[in-house]
C-alpha cells in the first residue's frame, strides 16, 4: 500500500490554473453530455431499457460463477484458449507468456481499460515487448507518455495544438499544423504500417456472451478489427464482470452503450468474435484483480454492473473541472472513484471525496448504478478505517460537533457572520479553501432561525 503522491484536490488545483483551459474542458464534456441527452430522448423506452439492463446485470452478479463457467465451456468449444488471472500481475504474465511462446516482440493493441488497470504496457516494455496503442486518442497519450484521461475519450484533455506539436515531433507532420483531418490522416498512415507488420493484436472486451462463448468489441475507428483480423495471435482481455447471459441481451446493451457514451445510436463497429479465423490463435484472459472482493461488498458490488460508457464523467461537475488525470486511477470520474478504493483504500481514499454528491452520475448511468450513494458510503468506510488524512478527519469531527449541538451551532453562526462583517480578511484569504476562485458571499444580517423566531411572535 502506498500513499497517493498527489491527491485529487491538489491535482485539481494545478488543472485549474488556466481558467480558459478549464472552461474549454468543461464545455467540451458538457457538449458530449448534451448529445447523450438528445439521443436518449429519441427512444421512448429509454428508462425501461435502463431498468432492463440493470436487472440483467443484477442477475449476472448473482449468477456470476455459473455464467463464467458456461462462458468458458462455450468459448473453449469454439476453439478459444481461455486463461484465468487472479490479479494484474498474473494477467500481465499470461500475456507475456503467449507472446514469448510465439517469439513475438511487437504487438498492436486496441482500447482496453483493463490493461491500463494492470499497467500491462509498462510490464511488457520492461520485458522487451513493444506495444503500440492503435486507438487515435490512446496513441496520442501514449506518445506523450501519459495515461488516458477518459475511458472513452482518452485525449480529451488535449488541445489540437498540443497534438499538432506532438505529431510534428513523432510523425513528421508540418510544424504548426493543427487541422484534425490532416493529423488524423497522418496517424492513419502511421498506424496502418503497424497493423500490417504486427503478428499479435490485443483487444479489450465490451461484452462476453455466456450462451455462445462469443465476445463483442466496439470501436468507432475500426482499430480492434484491423489488428485482430491481420494478426496470427489475437489476445482479448476482460474483467469477469463483462458477462451477459444471452446473445439477445446484447440488443439492450448495444442500444444503451453508444447513446450514453457519445450520443451515437451505435458505435461504427460492433464486432462479434466467436471462433478464431483459419490459422489464427485466439486467447481470452479472464481477470479478477479485486472484482471478487468488490462482489462481496454489499454496498459497492453494483459498481461491477458498469459497461464503461463514460456518461458519469461527462456529466460530473467535478470531473469536468478537474480532468481525468487528477483521479490517478485507470478509470477516472465518479465510477472510477467507487472502483478505485476497492483496489487500494489508502492510495485512493481521496477519490470518493472528489464529488459534490449531486447525483447526476446516477441519473445518467445506463445500468442504474447508485454511484453517488456509493461515493457517500465509501466516505464512511474510509474514515472509519483510518484511511483519510488527519486534517480531514479533524475537520469532519469538528463539523459533527457543531452540527449535533443546536446552541453551539447558533452561536458559531452568529460568530461567523460577525467576523465576516467586521474582519473580512479573516475569511478572504488564501488559507480558506472556500475563498479559492470565488468571492465570499455577503453575510446575512441574521440567520433564518433568528428571523423565524422574531416573526412568529
Amino acid at each position: 500500500m502506498s500513499k497517493a503522491v498527489i491527491d485529487h484536490a491538489e491535482a485539481s488545483e494545478t488543472f485549474n490554473k488556466d481558467e480558459s483551459y478549464v472552461d474549454w474542458h468543461d464545455e467540451t464534456l458538457w457538449f458530449v453530455r448534451k448529445k447523450r441527452d438528445i439521443s436518449s430522448k429519441l427512444l421512448p423506452e429509454w428508462e425501461a431499457l435502463r431498468e432492463t439492463a440493470s436487472q440483467i446485470k443484477d442477475y449476472v452478479l448473482s449468477h456470476m460463477d455459473d455464467l463464467l463457467e458456461a462462458f468458458e465451456k462455450n468459448a473453449k468449444a469454439n476453439g478459444v484458449h481461455v486463461h484465468w488471472a487472479a490479479d494484474a500481475k498474473e494477467h500481465n504474465e499470461i500475456v507475456l507468456a503467449i507472446l514469448k511462446q510465439h517469439k513475438i516482440d511487437r504487438m498492436v493493441k486496441s482500447k482496453s481499460m483493463l490493461t491500463e488497470e494492470c499497467h500491462m504496457n509498462e510490464f511488457l516494455s520492461q520485458n522487451g515487448i513493444e506495444v503500440i496503442d492503435t486507438d487515435l486518442g490512446e496513441r496520442i497519450v501514449q506518445l506523450r507518455q501519459e495515461p488516458p484521461s477518459h475511458i472513452v475519450l482518452p485525449a480529451i484533455h488535449l488541445k489540437k495544438k498540443d497534438i499538432g506539436d506532438l505529431f510534428h515531433e513523432h510523425l513528421g507532420t508540418d510544424a504548426g499544423a493543427t487541422d484534425p483531418q490532416y493529423l488524423t490522416e497522418a496517424a492513419r498512415q502511421h498506424l496502418r504500417d503497424k497493423f500490417l507488420t504486427r503478428r499479435a493484436a490485443l483487444t479489450g472486451v465490451n461484452f462476453a456472451v455466456a450462451e455462445t462463448g462469443a465476445f463483442v468489441v466496439c470501436t468507432n475507428e475500426g482499430n480492434a478489427d484491423m489488428g485482430a483480423h491481420l494478426a496470427d495471435v489475437h489476445i482479448a482481455c476482460m474483467g469477469f464482470e463483462k458477462i451477459v447471459p444471452l446473445q439477445a441481451h446484447l440488443g439492450v446493451f448495444l442500444r444503451l452503450l453508444a447513446r450514453s457514451a457519445t450520443g451515437q445510436p451505435i458505435t461504427t463497429y460492433s464486432s462479434h468474435f466467436k471462433t478464431p479465423r483459419e490459422g489464427q490463435e485466439m486467447h481470452l484472459v479472464i481477470v479478477d484483480n479485486g472484482r471478487s472482493t468488490q462482489l462481496g461488498r454489499a454496498d459497492f458490488r453494483n459498481s461491477l454492473k458498469c459497461i464503461r460508457c463514460g456518461a458519469c464523467m461527462n456529466t460530473c461537475p467535478v470531473y469536468r473541472r478537474s480532468g481525468g488525470h487528477s483521479y490517478h486511477n485507470a478509470v477516472a470520474g465518479p465510477i472510477g472513484s467507487i472502483l478505485a478504493p476497492n483496489l487500494d483504500m489508502t492510495k485512493n481514499a481521496d477519490l470518493p471525496f472528489a464529488s459534490t454528491l449531486c447525483g447526476s452520475c446516477s441519473n445518467v448511468c445506463p445500468v442504474k448504478i447508485d454511484i453517488h450513494d456509493q461515493l457517500y458510503k465509501w466516505r464512511q468506510v474510509l474514515v472509519q478505517g483510518g484511511h483519510v488524512p488527519q486534517a480531514k478527519e479533524i475537520g469532519i469531527k469538528a463539523m459533527s460537533m457543531v452540527l449535533s449541538q443546536p446552541r453551539f451551532y447558533q452561536w458559531s453562526g452568529r460568530l461567523g457572520r460577525s467576523v465576516m462583517r467586521t474582519l473580512p480578511f479573516m475569511v478572504n484569504n488564501s488559507l480558506n479553501p472556500w475563498y479559492k476562485q470565488r468571492e465570499m458571499p455577503e453575510p446575512p444580517k441574521e440567520s433564518f432561525r433568528d428571523w423565524y423566531v422574531r416573526n412568529r411572535k
Binding site: T28, I56, A86, A155, K159, T184, N220, G222, I266, Y269
Partner: protein, 194 residues
C-alpha cells in the same frame, strides 16, 4: 489451487442472493417506414443508400460510380465481371491495396444504420476494414427496426460477425469528427429489390 478455482470459489462465496432475469427485454420501435428511417440515420453518418431494381441495375450503377477505380473486389457474384470475385489471396495482408470492396451482407438495422456482415458472406474478415472504401449490398426487404429485432433474426452465430454503421470515424482530436480513421473512408449501401 489454480487461479480459476480460486476466482470461482470466491465469486461463489461473495455473490449476492439470487435475482431473476427480466422476462421482457425487447421493445418495438414501430417506425412508420423502416426504409425511410434507415436512410435518414445513415445520411446523418455520411452514408448514401441507393435503391436498385435489379442486380443488372446494380452492375450498371457500380460501373458508373467506380469507373476510375483500379483495385476493386466484390463478393457479389453478379459483379464478378466488374471486379475480382475470387479473392484468392494467400495472406489477408495482400488486401491492403484494395480501394473499393462491394460486399454482400445480410440485413440492415433502421434505428442505427448498422449492417450485419459475417463469415457467411466473407472469406477474409479484414476486408471490410482494410479496404479504403466500402459498399454493402443487401436485399431491399432485409431491414429490421431495431437491435432487438436484429438479434431475433441473428439466431445463427457464425465464427465472426459485425454490425457496421457507416464509415470509420474518430473525434479524438478536440471532438472534431473526422471520417476515415483506420477503416473505410466512405460507405455506400445498395438496397436491391427482390
Amino acid at each position: 489451487m489454480s487461479s480459476r478455482e480460486q476466482i470461482l470459489q470466491q465469486v461463489k462465496l461473495n455473490k449476492p442472493s439470487e435475482t431473476f432475469l427480466p422476462l421482457h427485454y425487447t421493445f418495438d420501435s414501430g417506425y412508420e417506414n423502416t426504409e425511410v428511417k434507415f436512410k435518414e440515420i445513415l445520411k446523418a453518418i455520411y452514408t448514401e443508400v441507393i435503391v436498385v431494381d435489379s442486380l443488372a441495375e446494380l452492375k450498371e450503377k457500380v460501373e458508373e460510380m467506380y469507373a476510375g477505380v483500379v483495385n476493386k473486389v466484390t463478393t457479389v457474384a453478379e459483379l464478378s465481371s466488374w471486379a475480382d470475385f475470387s479473392l484468392q489471396v494467400e495472406d489477408p495482408h495482400e488486401l491492403e491495396m484494395v480501394e473499393i470492396a462491394i460486399l454482400q451482407a445480410e440485413f440492415g438495422v433502421a434505428e442505427n444504420g448498422a449492417v450485419w456482415i459475417s463469415d457467411n458472406h466473407l472469406q477474409h474478415r479484414v476486408l471490410p476494414f482494410i479496404t479504403q472504401n466500402l459498399a454493402f449490398v443487401i436485399p431491399r426487404n432485409a431491414l429490421v427496426n431495431n437491435m432487438h429485432d436484429a438479434y431475433k433474426r441473428l439466431s445463427d452465430t457464425t465464427g465472426w460477425g459485425c454490425f457496421i454503421a457507416g464509415p470509420s470515424k474518430t473525434a479524438d482530436i478536440e471532438q472534431s469528427l473526422v471520417i476515415g480513421a483506420h477503416g473505410a473512408r466512405s460507405m455506400v449501401i445498395f438496397l436491391v429489390e427482390n
